[in-house]
Amino acid sequence: MDVGSIYLIVAFGLLLLSAFRDIEKTKKALKVTGRVALTVLPVLFMIFILMGVIEAFVSKEVIAQWLGSGSSVLSIVIGEIVGCVALIQPAAVFPFAGFLHKSGANYGVIVGFVMTAILIGITTLPLEMKLFGKRFTIVRNILTFVIVFIIGIIFKVVPL
């Protein structure tokens, strides 16, 4: 069974439990669910289109070529930038990172790519800004970029 199904079963289980204990509260909860869906789904729609646009114009081979060469500390930054831009599903991050490693990228670059691919996405920025505001978004994304750089240096130095 996939992770999504497990989540769904847990959520419906909790919903049932909630309905047994207090049907009025559960109705209220479902109203909240509807409002959240109406707020978030349209943004997701736009984001998914953006993801498609990026994939349509940048091929994976080009990215690998970019990251395979270069062994300076700067290459970690490039790995991070690619991670920010190439928004791929978290589950696809590791297979692609393995592909990068085979193409010659060092572990500093790879961890930079993996972490920013999971934590920063130019396509998730609109959602983050909408939910948490501009200042929160700016601070979190910049700090994440810096911290991931430090992690990248650690991975470059530690023999793996």
Partner: protein, 172 residues
Amino acid sequence: MSILKEAVTYILIGLLLWGIISIFSPAKGLIVGRVAYDAFAKALKIIIAVFIIIGLIQVWVSPQTLSRILGKEAGWKGLLLASTIPVFIGGSLFTIFPLLKTLREKGASIAATIAFITAWSGKAPLLPLEIAFLGWKFAILRISIIIPFAIVMGLLSEFILERWKPRKEVTE
């Protein structure tokens, strides 16, 4: 009413972008559609689950309870919790953000919120994949390093955000 207006705006922007690309290159337009559909199909179950859980949290968890667990008064324990538990949660930023928005509204501190997001990148559910493609040394080092860094991220962000306030005292 304004929720609806915003919803329509986002959908229109997406459709417009897709439409323009499809007019200039139908092949690329097809790729865009396929990627968008795949992403949506993959995330759909988790998205529905998270929306339901958000609703339940909203009615069942009182702000007092939550801020005792993840608020400022929770102190180190709250921060430690926010830096470890999320390592084991799946999903993507799309599903994590709405969930954290709810926790934040209920009284979770900025430090706990940002530590949560950072720690979530540990992605323990994907550990088998990570080991398969990058080796167990890489995977173990990455996941164990994330916890202290999540704490640092949380504290540092809170420190900055508490001092960087907009001129007109509105805190959204």
